[in-house]
Subunit: 377 residues, 2 copies
């Protein structure tokens, strides 16, 4: 994997770059749609590519490991072959899900984490080494280190010990990753994850530790877990000032359109979040003009397109009134339209950000756009 920064914004820390993988180029800053179980919910693969113009999607190791299971994915020849998505894929490490979904009977020890499947209650054991093997088998282009994602709020002592263990786990991840080979003939790379909750000294220490591993890219975890946005920005800036400038930086699980724009300004290159798809299913639309709750009465007979500011089919072909009818009627097409629309908006937003960075006009545009795209219509 290579990463080249072509432009930096004169008035912020924003950068525009190109990440090259064996499954193609990713133009940064980028948003990665979440495809938990090997499918971006309610979206066809060709819509992802042609309408949304996604360049990389995310898969969840925890979910894919449990279902369909590694035997099926390996027989298919990896996740790309299994789901037909031939562009880059990033997988998380399963850590976050082990803590959030499989909390009953979960035990975190130095060796690894024992947990019960949220599907059938079966018992499983994840270790840093095992999770590297799992992601090798899934065949992600970008593999994430196995970490502990601390909740918010988190007591200082716990945050420090957890961070130290995450660092020790990272050593084991790197050793095992470097001692193993890709399974399907294309390169895979490993990103470590900065932790440290909302404590400045821990974040600094973690960022320095992670940077010292010298991997091809770095991630920031443990944010967007309930802390105030200002705290997230503060931690992000602290960390991006330490992480190497010439490597891509991935802020995990972030966020709202405003969060993304602010964090691009702080030097983040990659984002993922379930918000565009999850909120779509609840009738919340992010548009170029602001936020729409499509269930509101006011859209009942608004026969204008959902968002003519975007150039995809769903946002232009369907009207607000029709989408409102579909969601009120609990029709599957509602989730389908709203998901394509919201993801198209997110990809449009990062694409616009990239253009503005290249033009050197990012900062002023960002300040305006943060207000515009977060206002309630």
């Amino acid at each position: 994997m290579t990463f080249d920064i072509s432009n930096t914004d004169p008035n912020s820390k924003a950068r525009a770059g190109v990440l090259q993988t064996d499954h193609g180029q990713i133009q940064t800053p980028i948003f990665m749609p979440v495809g938990t179980a090997g499918t971006v919910k309610a979206v066809h693969q060709r819509e992802l590519k042609e309408d949304i113009k996604a360049q990389i999607i995310l898969g969840n190791t925890y979910h894919l490991y449990l279902r369909p299971g590694l035997d099926v994915i390996e027989k298919a020849g990896g996740l790309h072959k299994f789901n037909g998505w031939d562009k880059p894929i990033l997988t998380d490490s399963g850590g976050y899900q082990v803590y959030s979904l499989a909390s009953t009977g979960r035990k975190i020890k130095e060796e690894g984490v024992t947990f019960k499947s949220h599907i059938d209650g079966s018992k499983h054991f994840f270790t840093p080494e095992g999770v590297m093997d799992i992601q090798r088998t899934i065949g992600a282009d970008i593999i994430m280190a196995f970490d502990e994602c601390t909740p918010y709020p988190c007591e200082y002592g716990y945050a420090r010990e957890s961070m130290d263990m995450t660092h020790r786990w990272l050593k084991r991840c790197c050793d095992h990753f470097d001692a193993t080979q890709p399974k399907y003939g294309y390169s895979q790379t490993l990103f470590p994850i900065v932790q440290g909750s909302v404590y400045k000294d821990l974040r600094v220490k973690s960022a320095e530790t992670i940077a010292s591993f010298g991997r091809e890219g770095n991630a920031i975890g443990g944010l967007s877990v309930g802390e105030p946005a200002e705290m997230m920005y503060e931690m992000t800036e602290l960390v991006t000032d330490i992480l190497p400038k010439d490597k891509p930086r991935y802020l995990m699980g972030v966020g709202t359109p405003a969060n993304i724009l602010e964090c691009i300004a702080l030097g983040i290159d990659m984002f993922d979040c379930v918000m565009p798809t999850r909120n779509a299913r609840n009738g919340m639309l992010f548009t170029t003009q602001g936020i729409i709750n499509i269930k509101n009465e006011k859209w009942k007979d608004d026969f204008s397109p959902i968002d003519p500011g975007l150039d995809n089919y769903a946002s232009n072909f369907y009207t607000k009134a029709y989408l409102r009818h579909l969601i009120k009627s609990e029709e599957l097409l509602a989730a389908m339209i709203a998901s394509v629309h919201n993801l198209s908006f997110y990809l449009w937003l990062v694409g616009q950000a990239r253009e503005q960075i290249i033009q050197g006009t990012f900062k002023a545009w960002k300040d305006k756009m943060v207000i515009q795209c977060m206002q309630r219509l």
Copy 2:
């Protein structure tokens, strides 16, 4: 509306024709995907047109009347404008739903039917005249008469009285339809419905009565409601022998691929059924090779396309193993893929039937295909 029969099969009563509406041509025999609430469930409008190659879809008057309501549809300029489907639409009369969905507190009288909404319990009154007005407002190209659809089994006396009332209602439907005008500048036509349960004398009387109205097309209702297939075929043949040869014949709510092929052989031109979409959502696939229960273990690592015998995206791009994973994981994409696939199969089937009729080889092909497409894989 015009209907021209170009070919008749030498060895059956099957016919190939062209139905011309102001929203375009329909090549018969045809299957009409059901779009209950103005959406064919889990299918985008462009998929309906480009992948499934649907030529006409059905809307349910009962559902559309309740939600979004006539005010919204009329403001939109009719259902075509509201949902963006610019090819022909047929609406049922709401009769069937009033009996099946809104049975609590429903009262059938000579004047009309009082029922409670299954959505909010609100009280409504449908009359033959009112239902004509509703369908005028929805803007269907083909409007159905308001009838009583008797259940199976049905006592003879009830079936006879119900049929007589349906005939009296038909007179009122025709009088009101003929005294009113389309609302959106294109023609609408009214199809009456043969009833009579499974009683030959009633079916004969009803078919003769319906034929005597001399409308542009005729429908057969009250079948596919639980009676044995042989009984359905017997009633259908009895009726098609009486209904005028030069008018399209629509068999309502039918059916399996085998049912459709057998009834094409009996002279039916139009079909609709929720089976392809409803069964899709439950993991039952109709393919060119037979029926697949995609939940079965045997498809777990079958990485072949769903059905290379069809030429649409979903059937070719996605594999059986991937679709099985999606439906086991209760992912929305499962319903999306399976719905496009099943509808594509249904449209392929009637398209093939049409070709065979034109070639004069329908009967032998039909006998083979009935077995092939109903076998369990």
